[in-house]
Subunit: 144 residues, 2 copies
DNA sequence: TCCTCCATGATATAACATAACATCTAGGCA
DNA sequence: TGCCTAGATGTTATGTTATATCATGGAGGA
């Protein structure tokens, strides 16, 4: 995880992006918690860490992180997760456990390829594919 | 489209579900508009049609329609569309045009199969897969 | 009849997100 | 150095989406 922070730092340096304290802190929070967090939860944690806590503070940092591939938004939960393989060009698919809310990120090359095929039949040009599965994670499924 | 309404009616009769006036009206609205509508837009249209217009009115009807497969929620837009092939057991994938906001529903058997494969590697049991592509529809792409 | 289940009515509020404008700060360059 | 610019942050206000809660109504079964 300190790893992901370092990668983000490096990427920003190389691409002339500002990895400011609040952006770094939000990414640290996401990576530490290792679960999907809402913007307002993040905001609370920022406040605890001494940052300002108006909503735009969190949303701006999250926009930055998402735009640059350091975090992802989970649309079904209106929440955010740190990216597990930043830097790499990737097509993530998320597995969201309906019981414990744990979110795991998997690489979704095949599904997104299939989506593109379907799309091109329909004359649609895909720029981004959101793939989110809901269900039960291994540990919740086995303890059920 | 009158067709989809009839199918919904039939399905409800067979499954002992109440296809009440407000539920029917919301489905009619979705099918007529043939685009993604937010709950509050639907609420306005309900009011125009003489229904009550507190938020729960729309959300309850939408919950019913989504739960029974007559409509879908588009997570990226926080909005709703009528289902294009109700009744059939299906895995929809949505193509959302970022220019005109038009949403088309395609059948996503392959992508959702690939998602399940990835999931099972991860020990995850998929109950529902959300697949939404963002990009340009044919007509917007060609006029660009 | 009366009871139960579900739908609807109604009020309030929670949760999520952005608009708009002011201020600050680092870095380029005259 | 001193100015200028671009982007980041501060701040206030508000817009948008969604749900909790409790009261009321109405169809159908025992």
């Amino acid at each position: 995880m300190g790893n992901s922070i370092k990668e983000a730092e490096k990427y920003c340096k190389e691409n002339d992006l500002k990895f400011t304290p609040v952006r770094r802190k939000v990414l640290e929070i996401l990576l530490q918690k290792n679960k999907a967090l809402g913007a307002y939860e993040i905001l609370d944690l920022l406040r605890e860490a001494g940052f300002k806590n108006q909503p735009p503070v969190a949303y701006r940092a999250l926009d930055f992180l998402v735009k640059n591939g350091f975090a992802h938004k989970i649309e079904q939960l209106n929440s955010f997760v740190g990216c597990m393989h930043p830097g790499k060009d990737h097509s993530p698919a998320f597995m969201i456990c309906r019981n414990c809310d744990f979110v795991s990120e998997e690489e979704a090359i095949n599904p997104s390829f299939s989506v593109s095929k379907i799309a091109s039949k329909a004359g649609f040009k895909v720029e981004k594919a959101v793939i989110e599965a809901r269900g039960l994670c291994h540990s919740c499924a086995s303890s059920a």
